[in-house]
């Protein structure tokens, strides 16, 4: 009985603590604040070439960085870049450490529960990459070949869906393992995200790696804090205008080497 009372008290205390720690409901003022301060804070990646990485001059660059600067220019405000990782980019929005997250962010139902998304601004895809000398045109060509993927990643599931029998799928613990195995020639092909492959190609030009097969298209969206509709609609307007004027397409050609293509809105 005493134990039960204690547990109830503990539960109540925990609930109270959670309520206190929960992000307070901000008024919809992000856009007004940005325009008043003349500064917009944007979370960008620095580990995902060509979307966001640190150049030789130690300045962040890439498609996501250019999109951030484009939005800043259209709003007429200064852009403050904050480097984030895959794991902490959503918390940055939730805690209002950033106004926007432009960081190869894909949309899924779990994320939509905690933040809002603008319309898509750039293509992103998981694909099979391999050496130019190896002929892979259709999923059937994978038969008898070894494909490295990261266990539990989106690529792992997608390769399983398209692979014909006889494909030797080797699963590694993390992206580094997958890429190292490919670099060492332990697997003939690798199924990874476009940014991982881009990074690898940039650092290992001696291994002539190219795009082979598309696994999944999952375009990037800009993340906005939940309920900031004014800011979200303004950014939507800017993206739509940049799509119409061809500015976004130019950025896609510059960084990704392929046109923007059809993006969902």
């Amino acid at each position: 009985m005493i134990a039960t009372t204690h547990r109830r008290a503990l539960l109540r205390a925990t609930a109270a603590l959670c309520a206190a720690l929960a992000v307070p409901a901000f008024a919809q003022s992000a856009l007004d604040d940005i325009l008043a301060k003349k500064v917009i804070t944007v979370a960008i990646p620095t580990d995902s070439a060509p979307y966001g990485y640190v150049g030789t001059d130690l300045q962040p660059q890439g498609l996501d960085v250019d999109v951030a600067n484009l939005i800043g220019a259209k709003l007429g405000v200064k852009v403050e870049l904050v480097p984030v990782t895959s794991a902490n980019r959503i918390p940055y929005l939730q805690t209002r450490k950033a106004d926007l997250v432009i960081s190869t962010l894909g949309k899924n139902p779990e994320r939509e529960k905690v933040i809002d998304f603008t319309i898509a601004y750039s293509p992103f895809f998981q694909a099979i990459f391999g050496p130019k000398s190896l002929m892979v045109k259709t999923p059937a060509d994978l038969a008898g070949k070894t494909v490295g993927v990261t266990r539990g990643a989106m690529e792992d599931q997608e390769v399983g869906k398209i692979a014909p029998p006889g494909v030797d799928i080797k699963r590694f613990e993390d992206m580094n393992g997958t890429v190292s195995a490919y670099a060492a020639g332990q697997v003939q092909l690798m199924g990874v995200g476009a940014s991982v492959a881009g990074n690898f190609v940039a650092k290992n030009p001696q291994v002539s790696t190219e795009f082979k097969l598309l696994l999944k298209d999952s375009p990037n969206y800009i993340g906005v804090a939940k309920g900031e509709d004014k800011l979200r609609l303004k950014v939507n307007e800017i993206i739509a205008a940049a799509k119409a004027s061809g500015e976004l397409n130019k950025l896609a050609l510059k960084w990704l080497g392929r046109p923007l293509g059809e993006l969902p809105s």
Partner: protein, 219 residues
């Protein structure tokens, strides 16, 4: 509070069974070859030429003072750099053999070093060759003395094979990790995996304790 659900993990029993079989196969091969390598190295460190002693000594120190996973990664990811490309299974077995060989060498050497001098002199006075003295007179009782330590080392190597999943060898830990990356039942999957390792380790110890006196060093 936490709802445990073992059904999604147990439904993957073919994966678990295959993983356990691969772990046992890796252990069987690497234990057989590794113990032979260990005996050879022990002999070399005691009776070999000075240059051989130096080489074997460096090998033992190198392996005993570096982590197993680094040795494994060196063989799998590093050796292709000089053109030696081994499959993940071969790399796993090789790493386990090399690892066990170094530890077994020291264990067996300790057994040999405690052989009473009179026993060797008695064998020599019977005009046995040096090789005969070692294989017939010195080695069997030495192995008998260190057998419990050797069995423990083999079990350590079997448990250590869990990291071979890192280079996509389909052993038991690989199966466990794959299962919970698919159904997010990490507690249940690792719990089941732990249980299988425990049973395998205890069974292996009993098997080796039974087999040792019968097939390895005689009664």
């Amino acid at each position: 509070m936490i709802a445990l659900d073992f059904a999604p993990v147990l439904a993957e029993w073919p994966l678990l069974a295959k993983g356990a079989a691969v772990t046992l196969a890796l252990t069987a091969v690497s234990a057989s070859v590794g113990v032979v390598l260990g005996v050879a190295c022990a002999w070399a460190r005691l009776h070999g030429a000075p240059w051989l002693k130096a080489i074997v000594g460096s090998y033992v120190e190198l392996i005993r003072n570096t982590p197993f996973i680094v040795q494994l990664f060196f063989i799998y990811f590093g050796l292709p750099g000089i053109g030696v490309r081994l499959s993940n299974e071969t790399a796993s077995v090789l790493a386990m053999v090399i690892n066990l060989g170094a530890y077994a060498a020291e264990i067996v050497r300790a057994g040999i070093a405690t052989t009473p001098r009179g026993q060797i002199e008695a064998a020599q006075s019977l005009a046995l060759s040096e090789l005969q003295v070692f294989t017939r007179v010195v080695l069997p009782p030495s192995l008998q003395r260190v057998w419990p330590a050797l069995v423990s080392q083999i079990i350590i190597v079997m448990l250590g094979s869990a990291v071979c999943g890192q280079i996509s060898t389909n052993e038991l830990s690989y199966a466990v990790n794959l299962i919970h990356s698919r159904n997010f039942r990490a507690f249940e999957a690792t719990f089941v995996g732990t249980g299988i390792y425990l049973v395998m380790a205890i069974a292996l110890r009993h098997l080796l304790n039974w087999a040792g006196p019968r097939f390895v060093f005689g009664k």
